[in-house]
Point group: C2
Chain length 463, copies 2
Amino acid sequence: MMADITPVLDRADANLPKSLERLFDLLRMKSISTDPAYNIECSKAAEWLARELQALGFDASVRDTPGHPMVVGHHPGEGSGAPHLLFYGHYDVQPVDPLELWEAPPFEPGLKEVEPGRKVITGRGTSDDKGQLMTFVEALRAYKETRGALPCRITILFEGEEESGSPSLKPFLEANADELKADYALICDTGMWDRETPAISAGLRGLVGEEIIVRAADRDLHSGLYGGAAANPIHILAEIVAGLHDETGRVTLDDFYEGVEETPTEVKATWEELESAAEKLLGEVGLSIPSGENGRSVLELTWARPTAEVNGIVGGYTGDGFKTVIAAQASAKVSFRLVGHQDPVKIRESFRAYVRSRIPADCSVEFHPHGASPAIHLPYDSALLNTAKAALSEEWPKPAVVIGMGGSIPIVGDFQSMLGMESLLVGFALADDRIHSPNEKYELASFHKGIRSWIRILDALAA
Amino acid sequence: MMADITPVLDRADANLPKSLERLFDLLRMKSISTDPAYNIECSKAAEWLARELQALGFDASVRDTPGHPMVVGHHPGEGSGAPHLLFYGHYDVQPVDPLELWEAPPFEPGLKEVEPGRKVITGRGTSDDKGQLMTFVEALRAYKETRGALPCRITILFEGEEESGSPSLKPFLEANADELKADYALICDTGMWDRETPAISAGLRGLVGEEIIVRAADRDLHSGLYGGAAANPIHILAEIVAGLHDETGRVTLDDFYEGVEETPTEVKATWEELESAAEKLLGEVGLSIPSGENGRSVLELTWARPTAEVNGIVGGYTGDGFKTVIAAQASAKVSFRLVGHQDPVKIRESFRAYVRSRIPADCSVEFHPHGASPAIHLPYDSALLNTAKAALSEEWPKPAVVIGMGGSIPIVGDFQSMLGMESLLVGFALADDRIHSPNEKYELASFHKGIRSWIRILDALAA
């Protein structure tokens, strides 16, 4: 007979103030992985996490990589026959610019009452992913403090390069496959459907990132003297960007849609119920018209269709006032979200060929790759998923839903292909958490009920 | 009988080291007019110039405007019957970024031997326009020190807002029309044809500047969660930029070519002799293919055809690494060079209508105007021009040529329309002076022979 988990849940409730203090300690570390200026802060965060796990009885250590370190910990479980679980999260965060748009400094976390009875935790990394990974750590703590043991054998893997393309992850998984292999992987880096409805993500888009730098003259030119005769790299880049989509919103690259399948009608039917909320998704950020491919719903566009997006562009004079210059170069960061069986390598090649074909003979282009991962599809109907779904539905006001997901979590594919593990993607972020943007937040309820959700999921999986 | 000017020229030669010291003093002042951080440096430059003129016997003063101050000075001439001349130059300079591309700090002027017997003056403003305006001041000094008088009555007007659209100039000319009106205006802000061939500029393109800010969502979005459904302002802006030109290089705005006339065959014929040198113009900056309207020569494109150029663009994440964000906004600085009778007001309206028509209903656009001036045509054949041409041809190895000019000097139009004055545009800059770019320079020969050229021109005009 299973032990009652009520005392564990109660302990999580009682711990909440201290759990928040610990989270705030982690949030104060400026672990921006993409900017080398913060390397030491990344290491500090890794060391802090290793100490936290050790305090919970884990055999935990900081493990060097060519980039930012991993944290790996092992803890035996109490029940025989319970599965061995690998939990994954990432301690690195996105850059914080534009800094002036933050209402409070990004690395000074706080608790803010946004409406009566609803508090949010504010700061960079609250939702992506420090607040989320700590829901799992605090769930383990509640078990440990109540029962002196964990219900399952647990291995933990925290990485510090998720926001910069995870360059060290694959080699690390390869080199430590025996140590990291478990029965299932649990990943807490996704969202709820809405404030009341927990969600399990079963499809993730892949990602190809590419930076291009277009070069024309060997110096900035005066647009009066040269304008009309000298190539303008901003114009060339604008044509490249504008030509990426046709008038129906489809991406124009050769063979781009190879491996993209139409979503089955029965899946689309389940999404239709959610669609009005999806329209709200745009409304919440001040938009109303689905951009992208014509004739497809917001959910289909973000869950089941590939994209080409320019994430940044810069060239010429961008300061105050005006400068009549023709720039020597202009650059853009372009990313593609992939679905189905789109091949990241082929997509990158196709993009590069497309760009090269639009560069005039006396100009040049330089490419810098930034990450490549295929799309992932998890089974919509498995024992793991159904167990977690039932556990989540006990904790939250509304039953859990299984959803697609627009973002990319490359490790899911790596767990599948390299370690043969099925993953479960459960997270408590909300669409308005402003991850990657100024004023990122995480609902206090997400943190608190997230901890409680993991307690329930672990209990159900151990059974 | 005219006095011999040899002693005046000799005095200019003897003065050269001191003339350079004075120029360096002026170059050290960071008079960047477009950036309010340098307001005090602009005032310092104005005060320095007023003191220099006073030392030459001018009744000179710094005159406040709503922006940067003007310097106005008056000096009587020695000969009766000699014309009253107004000399115009500007003491403000362009911003200096990207600072890291400068070989020496931009406001620490120096003298550098670039090949045996050829020295250049280095630093921001050497060529545009401090070095040029000082050629005239030093010419006056040589007269004054040799003869104790100037050959003509001279009025001087130095402004400090030329690089930021001259917002105070028209009101100032209006308010001080009687004081500033002279027989002719001399302007030293243009270039030579090449190192050996002086030039008088007889056509100048007009300019319309416009900054546009395209806004989509009310915050930066995660491209995984929103990509494919949320409008991307960088895409919208790229389409606007790419659509500005058709496949033949023509500008697509409605009525853009209204008022643009084909260059007369006989004028084009005189340009053909210069064309091989014009192709070299592109070669010197690492380009080889004339961009812009198909089937037109480099000289025609830069002297006689209108343009649309993006001078700067920025949106999204542009730092190191990668950030998968959909930006909330993207902006561009766009300028149009005008020729013939193109109307700056209509061009701006046409551009705004074009942009508005390409903004999705749930996005918005904001416009900021930056200057507007029509094109200018000076007579190709006048007494003033012919006198100056002969004087220049005496000083330089090759005879002076009359050329068109791609840049814009709005004051020429204002002198014509508001003060009824014909202008003479003589300058000693070279195409490779890198004005508006890092490592701006001015040939020592331009400075030295520029001073001597003005001595000859003043002598010829006084006769």
